[in-house]
């Protein structure tokens, strides 16, 4: 086995591993209700910030269920410490009533995500 094939093999393995990891961590969740284009990234919270699964599941978010189906999944609930607001209270993490466009990536951000982060075609 040449060195090159070995490297390729290792790279491929790493790719599969990271893909599997992302999948086990739930990937990106994009909420469309009550407003469009709100992202929750498992990657940022689990891999970058080092949170463990049981910090949110199933106390704040039931695994396998979609939070946006609940009627109280609104900003007001977050301000009262529910859902994301349990940490995003200004002490543990930035407050829910600040940095709006960090999670609210909007319709534009949602389109970018579904295009696989491909660069949008620039118009004139």
């Amino acid at each position: 086995m040449t060195l090159r094939t070995l490297i390729t093999f290792a790279a491929a393995l790493a790719l599969t591993a990271s893909a599997a990891l992302a999948a086990t961590h739930g990937g990106d969740i994009v909420y469309e209700k009550p407003v469009k284009g709100v992202v929750f990234s498992h990657k940022i919270h689990v891999e970058e910030k080092g949170l463990s699964c049981d910090m949110c599941h199933n106390r704040l978010f039931e695994m396998g269920k979609v939070a946006q189906d609940k009627a109280d999944f609104v900003m007001e609930s977050l301000y009262q410490g529910k859902y994301c607001g349990a940490c995003h209270n200004g002490t543990l993490a930035f407050a829910s009533n600040s940095r709006c466009a960090t999670c609210h990536i909007g319709v534009k951000g949602q389109k970018r995500l579904s295009n696989g982060d491909k660069q949008e075609k620039k118009g004139h």
């Binding site: 284009g37 930035f94 600040s98 466009a101 609210h104 909007g106």
Partner: protein, 246 residues
Amino acid sequence: MDLDNRPNEGIENVPMQQRRDFLKMGLAITGIFAGGSLLSVASTFNRAHASDFAKKYPFKPHYSMVMRQDRCIDCERCMEACVKTNHVPNVHGAYRTTILEKETPDAIGGKREFIPVLCNQCNLPQCVRVCPTKATYKDKSNGIVMMDIKKCIGCLTCQEGCPYNARYFNEEKKAVDKCNFCIDTRLAHGEKQTACAFACPADVRVFGDLSNQEDRVFKLVHQIEKQVWVLRPEAGTRPNVFYTKG
């Protein structure tokens, strides 16, 4: 050295780079003295403050909008409401209002801003000045920049003149179309808000009468605690759409 009695040598020969460097510091070079070794500068900070643009309100009501920019989340309900209310065709580039996105990757904290834009209903509208057929005009009572589609010949000179990209050619109307603060579709029917302001879930778009001291837009524009600005003040068109944060 008595600066007051020195002749101003004129700023024509100040290199462009130097002017830019000063502008970046929030200063504009206003004079040059003593063979170029002394510069007089003035602060450009707050030059775009709303009160400069809003000293006189020639219209009654003087329709205006204030964007509380940091609250915009690009849910695009405003755009959907506008399209539905004003029958904007579903064609690329056709809009009366849209949302711009600005990313600042190096910023601490929030890195993304959404900036809603629409016709600024300028007090000195370039589009009106350049229209060869007077198809676009400033309404004498409420200051809205209107379109008389029968007169429009589709030359698109107004598009060139507009600093805000607020006009598009409507193939169905065979005329240029633009935001008119929903004057025909909502205000004329007794509604108090434009479709976009009414649809906004985040209270970004505050619509009202700038000539009424009790109105929310008047109060938002006439305070000094939070900065208020307009887009592209250098165009000198005196917009009636203001922006603020916080």
